[in-house]
Amino acid sequence: MNPVFRPLRELSDAVRERRVSPVALAETFLERLERLGPRYNAVVTLTRDRALTEARRAEGEIATGRWRGPLHGIPYGAKDLLATGGGIPTTWGAAPLRAQTFDRDATVIRRLEEAGAVLVAKLSMVELAGGMGYRQPNASLTGPGISPWGGAWSGGSSSGSGSAVGAGLVPFAIGSETWGSILSPAANCGVTGLRPTYGRVSRHGAMALCWTLDKLGPLALTADDCGLVLDAIAGPDRHDPTAAARPYHYDAGEVVGRRFRFGMIRDVAEPAEPPVREAFERSLDVLRKIATVEEVTLADLPYEAITRTILLSEAASAFEDMIESGTIAQLTAPEDRYQAYARDAILAKDYIKALRLRGVVVREADRVLSRFDALVAPSRSATPPPLDRDFSALQRPQRDPMGAIGNLAGLPAVAVPNGFTADGRPMSLQFMGRAWDENTVLAAARAWQGITDWHLRRPPVD
């Protein structure tokens, strides 16, 4: 059995039935990461020793009948903002932090180890998760993230998590999203990405970019894969007071024949590039086979200004030491070396105003979403850009009301492939649901993937 580009259930069945050895699996993906990872600038650190130790342990446990669950013996990669002990560096994608180490694992890494998963690599990311305001793909100590589809930008900031899954270098990966950092690489790399509800997954041991917006979640080949991973990493954590006590169990129940109710914000695709808009319109036609789709209007609020003010303010505080000391001058993207200084101009009253407006937005978003299973929209309004693109030179303004609302209100969303441009770059559709309703958005995404085959397309990697 070739384990590359297999959904997790297939891999897991093969491991549990001892048709595939966890050690062989780890070696296969380590070899691919080593050989193909540099092509996509996807890898910061291969964790070979740790991977083989974990894989041997999994192999021994399964041989003696102790099966931990569907991730047991399955390799994965982690965005390099998740702390790992054992001397493995955690660089946050930033050149001045290339030697940074921590004394123990982040909670998510520990939970995956408890589930029997095998950490094979720390994956590339935009420096400081984009918190300094980068405006180009080349904004990481590992160079620009590259999509396996056509060599365009991988998206960010979970760049390596997207490209490594998309190129079959790992079966799944963990990324983080503050505003767009899971959905964007999922879209640009042609994979599925899940942004969980804020508070669903502990952030302990993850780099803080913006305490009230940061979320951790999986990128994988399918929505079902994402549900399996979320099941393993969700839950309360005494080290993270925002990690909610609400229990989460992935519901992989049958979706064939289920009718969904989807909403669509009026003109949500209007700012998108024509290929994205056309793919979205085609997707709506397909979705109407399994759902009603109703246009909705949101209250007129400055959603993007609210989210951006919170993000810029909290990031300025989170990285105060690096900004004040001038250490940011060592970052890769020239604009990341000084743009954060402008945040001294954000007044406290404006940050507080943004937090007050957040209350208005969360109620408005829930009012609208309470009538639907999910809101649908393009995951990104732009197609994957070339590596030399200055984002500020984009022809159309990069408006993202769904991202602004979803992240501001901490709502779950899943991004799924929904087509390709004429020159073969992937595009993506998102389902965004009510808080704590990951199972519904995952069910919608599974239903989509049950009647389309975009997620089954593979880039010409080998």
């Binding site: 030697a99 180490t101 200004a305 810029l312 007050r356």
Partner: protein, 105 residues
């Protein structure tokens, strides 16, 4: 190595540790730094805030970077204006609850 159970400090950050200049805060000082061509004309909020930013960081920056920074300050002003344009009632609190704390609770 950094402990996850202590406040994180980046030991890997080996860059220049220059102490930033902290000018005495005062409208007059900022007004002067704003380099207004018409000294009788009141400076805009953007002028004042950019003057503050420039006073703190100009020695680290090139003329081009300062120019870009000015545009970023203008963007901050646009964000602030959008927020201030929405009126909220006195009882509309930040959506971020404070809880009193007891370690033995």
């Amino acid at each position: 190595m950094i402990s996850l159970h202590r406040p994180l400090r980046s030991r890997g950050a080996g860059g220049p540790h220059r102490s930033p200049q902290h000018p005495p805060w005062g409208i007059a000082a900022v007004y002067d730094a704003a380099s207004m061509s018409e000294p009788t004309e009141a400076p805009s909020e953007a002028d004042l805030l950019f003057a503050y930013v420039r006073r703190r960081y100009a020695e680290r920056l090139t003329a081009e970077e300062l120019e870009a920074l000015r545009r970023s300050v203008d963007e901050v002003m646009r964000l602030s204006a959008a927020l201030r344009a929405v009126k909220l009632g006195n009882a509309e609190e930040p959506f971020q609850r404070f809880e009193a704390f007891r370690d033995d609770a």
